[in-house]
Assembly symmetry: D3
Homo-oligomer: 229 residues x 6
């Protein structure tokens, strides 16, 4: 691991990120071709938040949040802090004080692939955080890591400046280069979903709407009357 802090990362336009974020994680995930989801392991510290921002990435040693402190300085308006560790950890490396420092800089939330603490205070502040665990276990500031290097969470690559979306369904990364494509595809997807919703409310079945019924025989699916089995 190179112990480097990368400065001057590119960022996307916040208005465009807000446009994308409004579609929600699940819709954008579909619109992008079912890619970029950081996995079911990241859960919101409190329910109901939905946000988006530019990723400032952090790679920490387990049990050590030194590099989060280094990263704060690299954050600006509209960023989302995205942190992982070199080995899996549940330690509470992020809490209310860091949230205060981040909010002062206009940061919109934190994604911690480890533990967060001060959950009651974060909820009260309205500062959204997604994490792999809630843990009061504190961390040290002894071992170096990196800021704004590519990291991976849930099998997805997150580069600094990528667009991050997060809501009650979890966290999604959209590569910066795919932002406009993501917005267009999400708009199309939303329109398609609205039409499906209306059709379902009118009683149509997905079986017919998605052309599945005629594929069933080819897949060997048969229908049988219940005989008590």
């Amino acid at each position: 691991m190179r112990n480097v802090v990368v400065t001057g990362i590119p960022r996307a336009d916040l208005a465009r990120i807000d446009t994308l974020a409004a579609y929600g994680v699940a819709t954008v995930h579909e619109a992008l071709g079912r890619t970029g989801y950081l996995g079911p392991g990241l859960r919101p510290a409190w329910p109901g938040a939905r946000t988006g921002g530019n990723a400032v990435t952090v790679l920490c040693w387990p049990g050590d949040n030194l590099m989060i402190h280094v990263a704060v300085e690299q954050c600006r308006e509209g960023d989302l802090l995205v942190v992982t560790t070199t080995s899996p950890s549940t330690d509470g490396m992020f809490g209310e004080l860091l949230a205060t420092a981040l909010r002062r800089r206009g940061v919109r939330g934190a994604v911690i692939d480890a533990g967060v603490r001060d959950v009651a205070e974060l909820r009260e502040m309205g500062f959204p955080a997604w994490s792999a665990a809630v843990s009061a276990q504190g961390t040290v500031k002894a071992t170096p890591g990196a800021v704004n290097v590519p990291i991976t969470i849930g099998g997805q690559l997150v580069r600094p400046g990528d667009t991050i979306l997060a809501d009650d369904d979890g966290v999604l990364v959209c590569p910066r280069a795919d932002l406009e494509r993501g917005i267009a595809a999400s708009a199309a997807r939303t329109e398609k979903e609205a039409a499906a919703r209306a059709a379902f409310l009118a009683g149509e079945l997905g079986l017919d709407r998605y052309g599945l019924r005629e594929r069933l025989p080819g897949l060997g699916v048969t229908y049988e009357e219940y005989d008590g089995g």
Copy 2:
């Protein structure tokens, strides 16, 4: 696995199911002789719901929700959709659009032994869902499975038309043949619990009420004064 859709499954009377469901999962579980609980792995997508219904069962391939679409057509008023996969999966195979289609048919909720998504929308709709995970990760519609065949979740066998109960404590299956016995036993259990509650409020101990105190010596339990250990 036989790729079959079984039609015309038997169902229990909804009024009787409602009677059973009102007792709650934990009480009915005890009343049935501590059996039928689908395990602590299934959690509500949002807290506070309690429901019951007739099981429409679905067996899907991991990462594939084709058979849920097939199953919608088999659902009717008062059903609960109960889905598992042939191998463990956390993928988000159920969300708001399917919930809309199910609600249109009078379905009361979904039990997904995999992932659900659109959690915020499900909460807003008031459509209850229990699942093993929350995940935005989408699924394909490529591989066949089965509808209304016996499936197992949490080591319990669920047959189509069995009675399903679900609340904040999780999900329970009551075999259709046991429904009346379940109601009677739950009523008796509830009466017994009410008496215990009153006794506990009056200061009686379970130790005495359940006849445990006299069994302790036989089990080798002794009392000792604290000596600083």
Copy 3:
């Protein structure tokens, strides 16, 4: 395992415990030197509670809550029941009836390193519980264990009469002998945190405040301009 019930355990002053508890689990954990946290595995059955009390400890056989019933008699005003099992278990060994019996005796909450049930009822009662699982699966009363012996949860030793704190961040044990030190250190820590909060709101960085910036070169951390990597 000795099958013993220890009576007459020492307890700390409740007013002092309340003073400590008001600082919250995360702060006291730091104040004590990052020790005593029972781990991220224990989660509140419902959010928002914060409490503290004297530990009455219980060691049960998996799937068996006999000794909880034995322990109720040992509880008094201001206690917290702390239960573990000889092997990991998720079974619902604690619910509304036991909570009723405990509340009658002035017990403030329960910490169950296994499963709880009747979550909706506990929330309604306002009886706080922390547990490793929510499960309706019931238990028997057949196998002996121990009450008020030292137990361990999450790698931490809990002795009868130790001070237990619990909130949305989890559960902490403070040895009885450390209570006054914990209060003093927590007060100091809180003051320090308040100063840090004010500084962060004023724009200071942890990097500077904690003297981290000057240590970075010695740790090999370098700064680089983003070059598209």
Copy 4:
């Protein structure tokens, strides 16, 4: 749970079971249509064994092996003991003494969906066992369960007298009624595998042999030259 011991269960012919077992778990699983596998959680206590037999099923309370002792009496030549617990458990409920008792009765092995112990002794005896854990943690004999009732492991239903196969790939259940179909289908599958093996050794590709290549374009799979990405 009904606390019952079912006697006089049906069994399949051992010679036919041996015929099936010789094909191995993975092949028979495919031959049966990808069903009956008890999951990756069951691992051999020592490598290299392959066996098959008639299932004697046992349902135990966690931490309690009373019903295994009851089941021994129900075992006879060519049986395999198949044990699960009402809740997940890793406790060592089976070891060398029980293996000795079973061997005396001609039992061929044990499948324990919990823990086994005396691993070195089992290996030395050549008594094969598959389990979810290795644990020295002992169990009590206090709580009843059932013998020779249907149980489920890894989502598969195992009925008394079903055919069980086990080798280094894990454990498979073949319903007794499917034994002859399983043998025939396994023979066909083995022949097909032998032909595929020969073809692969001769350089043919599965892509061609299984007709996959022509399906790729329809699935949207394209080929691109590497460009450094």
Copy 5:
């Protein structure tokens, strides 16, 4: 956590430890009253070893093996190194070089409640190690911990100088004060097991030998003829 290295710990006589170790982990665990087992999470790095020794305990920060290096100096002939971390970790904090240093001092093996590496080399050296994981992931030497303080693994308290046994069934701690009682009880248990083994080989059933048969009716266990269910 106090960052302390405790010197001059007490140790038990090695000949007596060898006597105890010869009984094996499972037998001693039973003899001691089913206590002291460090859990199924600790597995041997290579199969077949059985050893015992005096515990030198180490408490490390996750991802950091500084205190193991400190502990080496505290080790002497007949010791077993027993290491845990303040938070769960799988990092490879122990390997062939440390094993070489320990062997030089007469240490008999290592128990690492985290990861080990150089598994092939440890096997070749014949140096036994039990661990929670195998991992090549290296550690730093930056954060302090403690040596020869009480630690807990798998819910069991291990004090410096306690007797540690380990074999293919896992690891056991026997408090130093219980060593002679453990030897006596293990001898008795072994005799009892030998008698049971002989009886089982002669066809007796545990059901009769342990007096279980007559308890079954009181537990509600009934016998039924198979009726196809």
Copy 6:
């Protein structure tokens, strides 16, 4: 996910890979600066193998091994097949037939971040495989994925043509561009380890050799005589 098969990927010289592989996973991991380890979740199907090769990467849908068949054609002498799935899966997507096809093409082994089967046959063939699970559960060939795109396993990015090393300690990726640096650093590391080994055998302590002793006071580590605690 783009459904693409990338052809003509770059590869490193096999002699140089063999040179690197001879150092072993743990040593190279350290030499590269503690990076590239694919995590403790990947274990060898049978012990004792050590190999290295050029990565051919595969991204599959869970429960589907279509793209492995596509990838075989892209493999050549000295490659290692490296497979992951879009969601976690334990299904047995690789076995003896695919190993036969790969061996025919000179492939040296397989790394499957999911399940393998035919473990006994793979051991007999001497074809090494590392996997997250052993499972007989078969897969379908219905859903597209990608071959020779960057994938991530255990938080590490693996690009097609990267150097893969694997032995009993797990699997390591060395970016192609770092191969020569890795060889040089591993040689240096091995020399350093040999010197340390010799020193340890001569009785020197790591505490002195690594200059740790003088850092202990600054870290607050103190020494105390045992006082019975």
